[in-house]
Symmetry: C2
Subunit: 260 residues, 2 copies
């Protein structure tokens, strides 16, 4: 995948189009957002907790994480970011960043000035709302992570994380035949699920032996989606994907919501 200098906005636009149709003006505004592309190796810090940056970033290629450390130096990954994600939108309204960001695979990110984005938000209220919505979806994912880490056993937990990964990657077109590139170490997966790296190895082995996943190299395949969903107690609803993006993952058209 080559990096078009405006690939940043292209990805952003793709994602927002999943929610509502942009006007030409809105698309243009995003397109004109100046940015600086940076290439990262694995495990490089992007922003560090406590900083007050003047810029924010978008993931273009590869994967990134948000993480925090406990007092005794144990790491917990609190979010995984895939191409198209803007992990750090909180900087728009919170001065100091409350978690660190790092690449967890070779990775390209695009930096943009917060002031530029603020200007866009002021001029285009619908875009502002769309970014707000993004941060709300992130919060929804965090809620599911609390459940995952708090109440599911390791096997289910890992299955759930892989389900989430697959659905999110599919939404940005990075899945082919229920398989995708997966250059993430077990240690990182362990930090994302709150288990030890050793136990992650065992959990993945169990999933493999049960025929729920196939791992070769840095590549992951899901032979039986329904089984993995079942094993992971997974319902993609919390991802709040547009109907288009979620096609193929919702077994049936979503039921009319219950009246209040």
């Amino acid at each position: 995948m080559t990096v078009d200098p405006n690939f940043l906005s292209a990805l952003m636009i793709l994602k927002l189009e999943g929610v509502f149709t942009l006007t030409g003006e809105e698309r243009q505004a995003l397109h004109d957002l100046p940015m600086r592309v940076v290439v990262l190796k694995t495990n490089q810090d992007i922003v560090h907790i406590g900083e007050c940056p003047l810029q924010s970033f978008l993931v273009l290629e590869g994967f990134a994480s948000s993480y925090k450390l406990t007092a005794d130096g144990v790491r917990q990954i609190v979010a995984l970011h895939i191409p198209g994600d803007a992990p750090d939108l909180q900087t728009l309204h919170l001065k100091r960043i409350d978690c660190s960001f790092a690449s967890i695979s070779p990775c390209k990110v695009g930096f943009f000035q917060l002031d530029d984005l603020r200007r866009i938000c002021e001029r285009h209220p619908r875009l502002s709302a769309a970014f707000w919505r993004e941060t709300l979806v992130d919060a929804s994912i965090l809620r599911e992570w609390v459940v995952n880490v708090g109440r599911r056993d390791a096997y289910t937990r890992v299955a759930h994380l892989l389900c989430e990964f697959l659905v999110r990657l599919k939404a940005v077109g990075l899945v082919e035949n229920s398989a995708f590139d997966f250059p993430i170490t077990q240690a990182n997966l362990a930090d994302a699920t709150g288990i030890s790296a050793v136990h992650m190895s065992r959990a993945l082995k169990a999933l493999r032996e049960d025929g729920l996943i196939q791992t070769r190299r840095m590549h992951l395949a899901v032979p039986d989606w329904a089984k993995l969903v079942n094993a992971g107690d997974f319902d993609p609803f919390y991802l709040h994907l547009g109907v288009n993006a979620a096609a193929g993952f919702r077994p049936a058209p979503q039921p009319k919501a219950a009246a209040l």
Copy 2:
């Protein structure tokens, strides 16, 4: 505490004032927000997951929770809400609610129409930004909860939750002499920390025996704040409280943030 019919907006205003000073117009707009006060007993559902409500609510008195259930019916509380919180601002931009809300103590909540709030947001961009900020702080708390549940042992986890509770309650003036009303069952605390109710009992006992907390009836006192903070690996920064609100909790004025 009696319920002034406009107590809702009063609380909302109080909280927002912690971030920036409202103009008279802004204050008036909040004050004029129509609302309906509802009194709840313990453990009553307020909004159920999957609904598409036309209204949202604010907690006036007592405590509420956001929770989700796993497939086998185990509950995980993903957020606790105290007076002044608007737990359900996500409805502004997400159609279907992705978690349930319930009272976890006797409780008063104020419902308002989303359309009314949307109108306020359109007319008062600074208020819109302030509400957005609120949701970002909620996300920050969720990140800390993932760390808490994922990487800390039960003892530390419970201490951390109690620290968070005390700081947040203090910010809305519900703490006196490091003590506060605490009408929350151990089962609920267990669901918030991802441990079993039995183990919660043991953890609280240990904290009591170590002199970190005192519990009598539905009341909790913290004799030695520094010790509890230490035991809970607690740093209030993630709460993003205004400087005023956090007074007395930050050991020193926050250091100039590191440059990017």
